[in-house]
Symmetry: D2
Amino acid sequence: MKASRRYTLTLSCPDRVGIVAAVSGFFASHGGWIVEASYHADTNTGRFFMRQEILADSLPFDVIGLRSHFAAVATEFAMDWQVSDSARKKRLVILVSKQDHCLNDLLHRWRSGELEVDIPCVISNHEDLRSFVEWHGIPFHYVAMPNLEESGKAAAFAKIASLFDQCQGDTLVLARFMQILPPDLCRRYAGRVINIHHSFLPSFAGAKPYHQAFERGVKLIGATCHYVTEALDDGPIIEQDTVRIDHGDSVEDMVRYGRDIEKTVLARGLRYHVESRVLVSGNKTVVFK
Amino acid sequence: MKASRRYTLTLSCPDRVGIVAAVSGFFASHGGWIVEASYHADTNTGRFFMRQEILADSLPFDVIGLRSHFAAVATEFAMDWQVSDSARKKRLVILVSKQDHCLNDLLHRWRSGELEVDIPCVISNHEDLRSFVEWHGIPFHYVAMPNLEESGKAAAFAKIASLFDQCQGDTLVLARFMQILPPDLCRRYAGRVINIHHSFLPSFAGAKPYHQAFERGVKLIGATCHYVTEALDDGPIIEQDTVRIDHGDSVEDMVRYGRDIEKTVLARGLRYHVESRVLVSGNKTVVFK
Amino acid sequence: MKASRRYTLTLSCPDRVGIVAAVSGFFASHGGWIVEASYHADTNTGRFFMRQEILADSLPFDVIGLRSHFAAVATEFAMDWQVSDSARKKRLVILVSKQDHCLNDLLHRWRSGELEVDIPCVISNHEDLRSFVEWHGIPFHYVAMPNLEESGKAAAFAKIASLFDQCQGDTLVLARFMQILPPDLCRRYAGRVINIHHSFLPSFAGAKPYHQAFERGVKLIGATCHYVTEALDDGPIIEQDTVRIDHGDSVEDMVRYGRDIEKTVLARGLRYHVESRVLVSGNKTVVFK
Amino acid sequence: MKASRRYTLTLSCPDRVGIVAAVSGFFASHGGWIVEASYHADTNTGRFFMRQEILADSLPFDVIGLRSHFAAVATEFAMDWQVSDSARKKRLVILVSKQDHCLNDLLHRWRSGELEVDIPCVISNHEDLRSFVEWHGIPFHYVAMPNLEESGKAAAFAKIASLFDQCQGDTLVLARFMQILPPDLCRRYAGRVINIHHSFLPSFAGAKPYHQAFERGVKLIGATCHYVTEALDDGPIIEQDTVRIDHGDSVEDMVRYGRDIEKTVLARGLRYHVESRVLVSGNKTVVFK
C-alpha cells in the first residue's frame, strides 16, 4: 500500500486567504487524490508552509507535467516550491569514522526496505568498517584525514565532495563522523548535510558532550539531528530526544545510553528529510510528521 | 492572540476527490482566514475526517450564517458536520467522589484560564469536597449514592441527570467518580461523558487496576481517558499515557504515581474534546492535536 | 504502612573496604530493621555515599540515642552524616509571585497527605494568591518587592529571611518566584533553597527561557529543579524532565506545556529533598530514589 | 574500567534483621571491595532479595573459594543463592525467523563489546539470515519447522534443544521467533528462555498484537521482554516500554514503530539478565538496574 507511487509537493509563501483553496482546487480539477496534507502558518514571519502527498496514478500527467501545470498557481502566490517523486529515490552518502552504531542502524533500515533511499557509497577516514559496508554490496571509500595539517584536511574534504558529486548524492549524512565540515562545503551543500550531535542542543555543543554532561550533573542526556551550517552545532534542528540517567552513571554509561538515542534520533530525522517532511524556515525547521 | 474568536468546523464524510477543495474554496470565497486545518482519511472505512479553525472576524456572517451558507457544501458531500463558536464556551459538569487530584487539577486549569469552559456545578456522592469547590464560586451538589440498593442508585443517577440537564451541561466528566454510569445514561449522553480510568486500557479494566498491575508485575502503569459507553471501560479512547515503576513500588506507590498520570491524561483528553479536536469513528477516535 | 516511624541516616565519607559492613553491623547489633538502603561510590572523587532508612520501633533508643551511639562509627570512617526522624516533619516556606500552578500543585499534595511536611507560611510579592493560601489555613505574608531600587530589594529580602527564620523554616522553595535571591542569602541557606527553572539547564538559563527555546527551534522543552547558589541557574541539579513540542507551538503553547512539567519536576525534586534522598557532592547531586 | 573482573552474588531468603550485616561483614572480613549493592524486601511475601558485585582481585580466593567460604552464611539465612564470574561469559543461543531487526541489534551490541556474552550459534526456521549471521563468524543452523504437522514440530524443537545443549547454551533468546515453545522445553529451561512480545502485556497477548491494538484504537503501543513459561505470554516480565501513535498510523506504521521498541526492550531486558540483575519472584521479577 505504501508502495503506490506518490508526488510530494512542498512549498512556502507569504500567508494570505486562499492558498489552500488554490492548491487543493488545482489538484481536484485534475482528479488528484490527496493522501496526506499538512499546513503551518508562522505568525511571527507571516509565512505559510504546506506539504501535499498525491497519488501519482490519480493525475493525468507525470511529474514533469505536474510541475509545468502547477507553475501558474505557484507564481500567483509567490511560492518557493518543489515536487518530489517517490519513484525517484533520494541518494544518501554516509560519512563515518570508527563508531558504527548509527551506520549499522541505517544500513539495517535500508536493507529491510524501511528507509527508502539509494546509498551509492559510504566514505570513512578509517578502514574499520569496510567489510561490513561491502557485505551490503555498497562501495566503501577510504579517505585519509590528517589530524593537524590544514592543507591535508582541505584535500581530504575536496576528495569527499568529489565522491559525493560523482555518485550524484542528494544528502550527505554525518553518522558520527567526528570531523568538522569546512565552511565552503557547508555553504555549497546547504540544506543537504545532516549531522547527529550527541547532546541535547544547545547544551553541550562542541567536543565531548557526554563529559560536559557528566561534569554538569544533568539528569537527562540527549541527541540532536540537525542540518549542518557554518556555525558549529548551530544549524536548524530536525529532531531531538532525551533519556534519563542518574548519579550512578559514568561517562561510559552515558556513551552507551547515548548510542541508542543517537541512532534513533538520526533515523527519525533522516526519514523526515527523505520523505520531504522538513521545510527550513530561517534557522528553524517545520517538520510535517 | 489565542483570544481572537474562532469558528471550528468538524466533519466526516465518504472519501472522494475534491472535499478539501470544496471546503477551502468555500471559505476562500468568503475571505475566511483558516488558522488551523487537519485531515484524516481512514483507508479501512473509506471515511474522511476534517477540522478547520477559522477567524470569526474574517467572515462576512455570524455562526448562524456560516451554518446556513455551508449547508449546501455539506449536503453535496453527505457530510456529518458541526460548527462550534469559541465565544460560546462548553459547559462541563464534573462528577467526583472523595479523591480530588483530578478535580484540583481541572479547577486550577479553569481558574487560570487555560481550560476555557464554564463549570456550572460539581456533583458528588460525598460532602468532602464542598468547601474547596465553593471557594471557586462553583455550586456543589451532594447526591447520596446507596452502595447496594439498586432502586436508590437509579434515583441518584436520575437526580444527577436532572442536575446536568437543568444547568445545560454539554459534557459530563467522571473525575475519579468510582461509580458505574447506568446504561440508559450512557446512551442518552453518548459522546458527551468522559471518564478517566486508572490503567492503560485494555489492560486492567474494572475494579482496582493498580492491584491488578501489582499482581501481574508490569514495569509501567498507565491511565486512559475515554468516552463512556455501555461496555465498561471499553469506549473510544481519547488519550493515554504510561509511567515507569519497578519492583520496589508498592500498590500505594502506584496509586501515588498514578494520580499524576491520571490528572495529566484527563486534562489533555478533556482539552482535545473541548476544542472540538476529537471525532468519534466507530469505537475509535480521530484526535486532531 | 508508610506511616510507621522511621529514622533516615545519610552520610558520605572516603571510600574504603568495610563501610557497609560497619554501618549494617551497627544496626544489626541493635536489632535495627532496615527498610531501604542505597549506596553510591563516586569513582572520580573516591567518596562513598549512603542512605539507610530504619524502622524506629526496631531500635532500643530514640533519635538522640541513635545519634550518640552511631557517633563512634561515624568518627572511625570520617563520615559527614545526619539522621532525620520521620516524626519531625520538615518545614517548607514557599515563595511565589503571581503564577500559581506550582503552588496549587504543592498545596494539593500537602493537603492530601502525599507531601509530608509542615508549611508554616507562604510569602509573595503580590497579593493575588492570599485567598487561596488562606483557604488552606496557611498564613500568607505579602512582602513588597520594588522593581528597580536596590536598597528596597535588599530590605524585602531581609524581611523574607526574617519570616523564614521566625517560623523555623528548613527549606525555602522558589515556586516560580521570578526574583533572584541575593548572594548573602544563597550562602546563608546553602543547600536549603530549592528553585524550579523553566528550561532544561544548562540550556536557556536566565530570563525568558521559553522565548529562547522558541528562537532556537528546539524540539523538546524542559524544566529543572535545583539548589540555589550564587551562580544564577547553576546550582546542583536535583531533577529534570522534558516534553515534546513542534513547529506549530507558539511561546504561549510552550508556557502551557511548561507549567505541567515545571510542577511535576518541582514536586519530584522536593519529595526527594524532603525524604533526605538528595546528597550534594560538589556541584552535583546523588539522588537515592 | 568496566573490564575489571567481578563476582556477582545474587540471593533471596526470608527477611529478618542482620542479612546485610552478615553478607557485607563476610566480604569486609576478606577485604572484598563492593562495587555495587542492591536490596529489595518484598513485604507481601516476607522475602528479601540482594545483589552484590565485588572486585575479584580484592578477594584472597577465586570463585570456587568464594562459593565454599560463603556457604556458611548462606546456610545460616536459608538463602537461595548464586555467584557468577564476569570472566565466564554467558552463552546466548538466538532463535529467529525472518524478521531480523532484533537480531541485527543484538549482533551489533555483541560485536561492539557492549553485550558481553558468547553467541555459540543462531538457529532459524528460515535460511534468510544465514549470510548475515555467518559474516559475524557465528555458526547458523537451519531447522525446518513444519507449519501444521505436530510430530514434525516436536522433532524440530527436539533438534533445537539438542543444538542448545551441545553448544552449552545458558540462555535461549526468542528474537521474534514466531513459534510457540512446547511446554516440555518451557519447563526444562525455566528461567533461561527470554522472549520479546510485540505488545504491552497483558494487553494483546497471542497473535497479531499490532492488529489488535489497531482495532482497539489505543494511543500507545508497547513491547514486553519476559521469561517464557507454559502459559503463553504470561511469564515474569523483565522489561517493557511504550511509544505514542495516533489515528493516522496504520498497522504497517505500528509495525515500523514497534520494531524500534522491540529491539530496545529486548536489549535492555537481556542486559539485565546477562548481568545477573534479574531475580525471579513467583511470576514477577526483581530487576536491580
